[in-house]
Each structure stands twice: as C-alpha cells, then as structure tokens.
Symmetry: C2
Subunit: 181 residues, 2 copies
DNA sequence: TTCTACATGTAATGAGTTACATGATTAC
DNA sequence: GTAATCATGTAACTCATTACATGTAGAA
C-alpha cells in the first residue's frame, strides 16, 4: 500500500509521467524506498481507477506519447489521512552484501576483503552523486517551501552512506588483523 | 531466493528448529534481512524437498513436538556456490517513517517533530539491546571461529542506529528552526 | 554499431503479509 | 485472568521481480 503514498507524495509536488516518477525514485526516493518501473505503471493505473489521480495523454512527434498524471483532491485527502492517522510500519531492509558478510567465516579472508572493497566503490560513487545533487538543489542548506522533505531525506542518504563507508573500513581492518594471525 | 541462503547460513553454524531460526532473525539477522515465521517454515519445507536440509522430529512431553533441521552437504555446497559466484544484488530498503519524512512539508511542524521523537525512542531501545547483546556475545571484541560474520554485522547494526539517531537530532533542529520563523 | 534516453506496458512467476488454527505452561 | 513462551503450519492475498514487447533519435 505504501508505494501508492510515495507516488502521491511526488505528484502532490508536481504533475509527472510514470517515466519521470521512475527517475525520481532513482534520484531521491532511493534513500528510503525502491520500486521497479513496472510496479509504478501498474500502481498509477490502479490509482486512476480509484479516482486518486487524473491523467492526460500528450502526443509527441519525435518521442513516444506520454501520460501526465496529476493528483486529485481525493488523492491528496487520502495521502494526508495516511500520513497523520495510519500506524508507522517497521522498516524493512534486504541487504545482499551484509547477508554475505554474516557468513564471512566460511570463505577465505582475501575474498571477504574483496567483497568489501567492491562495495566501498559503490557507496563512494553513490555518496558523491548525492552530495552533488544536494549542492545543486539546496545550495548552502537553503530549501524551498515544498522541498523540506527532500532536504531531510537526502541528508539521511548521505549520512547513511558515510556511516556505511566508515563501517566498511573498520571491517576491513578487522579482517586484515585476522589474516595476519 | 536469498532467504534460503540466510537460513542455510544459520544452519551451517548450528542445527535449529523453525522457531529458533525465527528468533535468530529477530536478534541478529534483523540488521540486514527481515522474514516472517510463515515464510521461514515454508522455505524450510521446500529446502528439505530439494535435499538441502534434513530434519528429525523430536517428541516433547510438556511442549509441542519440534522439528530440528540440519544442513546437508548439498546444502552447504549450494551456499558456498551462491556466496562466491552469484552477483551481489543491490540493497533494498522500505522505511515507512522516512517516507513520511519526505512529505513533512504537508503537515504541521510540531506533528513532524512528534514522528521523529517517537522514532528516536525505538532506535534508542534497539541500540541499547544490540549493544547489550554484543557485550554478552563478544566481550572486548573477542569472537569465536564461526562468529566473525555476526560480529561484523552486529557492529553494522549499532553504527546504523547511532547514525540514525544523530540524523534524527539534526532533523529535529532543522524543524525547530523552521518553526520559529 | 552499440548503447543510452525516451516512454509505456503485459504476463508469469516469486516473495512477503495477514488471518486463522491449536493448545499446554508459566509468569505477572 | 491475561499475556507471553513454546511450536508448527495452511490459505488467501498482495506486492515485487523478471522477461518480453515496441520503436525512434542521438551520442560514443
């Protein structure tokens, strides 16, 4: 159910196509939610059936036609109702790498370090990109009226990746120390 | 597919019942994976059919009968094959609270602060419990042969919650500053 | 010539959630 | 007397993933 509120939240700020919403998921929502484009398109269709959104099709000459979605009053009302009155579910994480880390005692130490080094690269890249995005969108910590949420969650993303990297360095040290003995 | 490797990883350390595996998920695996008991029992049945695990039923007088699962050679081989040769999937997070944070511009500032305060309590409690668990299991950072993984991931959990709390305090400051103006 | 961006979707399968079911014992 | 612990599961449902499908334009 929550995917729909993520989408309504984005639409409450700006009208958008399914494609654009997918891009926004990759850029900003990724810090706390994930969804495939197939899921997004399906949810948008369902929400329109239920009158939470409204769409208009725009013909384009060079590119495929697109469908621009807007949120309806009913949609916004349901979004607020969810935000204020529905219980907050516990967070759910699925981290494939940490799952492997939890079994590092089964594989050679050098191989374990390799996993961590590769994962460091990913997080370093993600951190750089998010920092750049933050500087472009909130120079010197200034944010617009309807950008408060994005400002707070992008900072969360940055801190999360930084903490990840620091843990990773610590874990590599532990492994190297173990490798020596 | 990954749930099965999480279970095989635990069974490779000790034989266990579905119930015990569920408890272990709540205690240690929670830092990087989540699963309901119904899912765990289903997966255990499937794995036994495929010869990855083996079970014996133990009759008990005071308590219900229980089924103790052990990992087979085939199961351990598949676990290693997955660990060393399968691509590492990207981590997936679903955080209901951060989803709400991303829409804080739609609700009153005091209400937003309430959400964060309540969430701080949860993370503080989790942090305390994990620290206590770590001290009991790895006093002064000493871990056993087959405990390396748990040692590394529990430290991840602690750092994650600490970073969460620090972000939370920062976010509350931002909101209070906004509330003043 | 191969990849990426643009743009939207269906169908099949796999994973995860919720509600229900049973029933004794022990701690508050 | 109420809740929690022990212990295992089925059935129905919702949600998420993967593979497939289409087709143009511009950049490397």
């Amino acid at each position: 159910m929550a995917l729909r509120y993520a989408l309504l939240g984005l639409l409450a700020k700006n009208e958008a196509t399914g494609y654009e919403l997918t891009q926004q998921f990759k850029e900003t929502v990724i810090h706390f939610w994930t969804a495939h484009h197939t899921q997004i398109y399906r949810e948008l269709l369902k929400m329109e059936e239920e009158g939470l959104t409204h769409s208009k099709t725009v013909q384009q000459s060079d590119y495929p036609d697109k469908k621009i979605y807007t949120i309806t009053d009913k949609g916004f009302a349901q979004l607020l109702e969810w935000m204020l009155n529905k219980p907050v579910n516990v967070p759910k994480l699925k981290d494939d790498l940490l799952l492997r880390v939890s079994m590092f005692h089964f594989i050679p130490t050098e191989r374990a370090i390799d996993f961590l080094e590769k994962s460091k690269e990913h997080h370093q890249m993600g951190l750089m990109m998010t920092k750049k995005w933050q500087e472009e969108n909130f120079p010197k910590g200034t944010y617009g009226e309807n950008e408060l949420g994005e400002y707070l969650t992008s900072e969360f993303g940055i801190r999360y990746m930084e903490s990840w990297l620091s843990w990773c360095n610590w874990a590599i040290k532990v492994l190297k120390k173990k490798g020596e003995s």
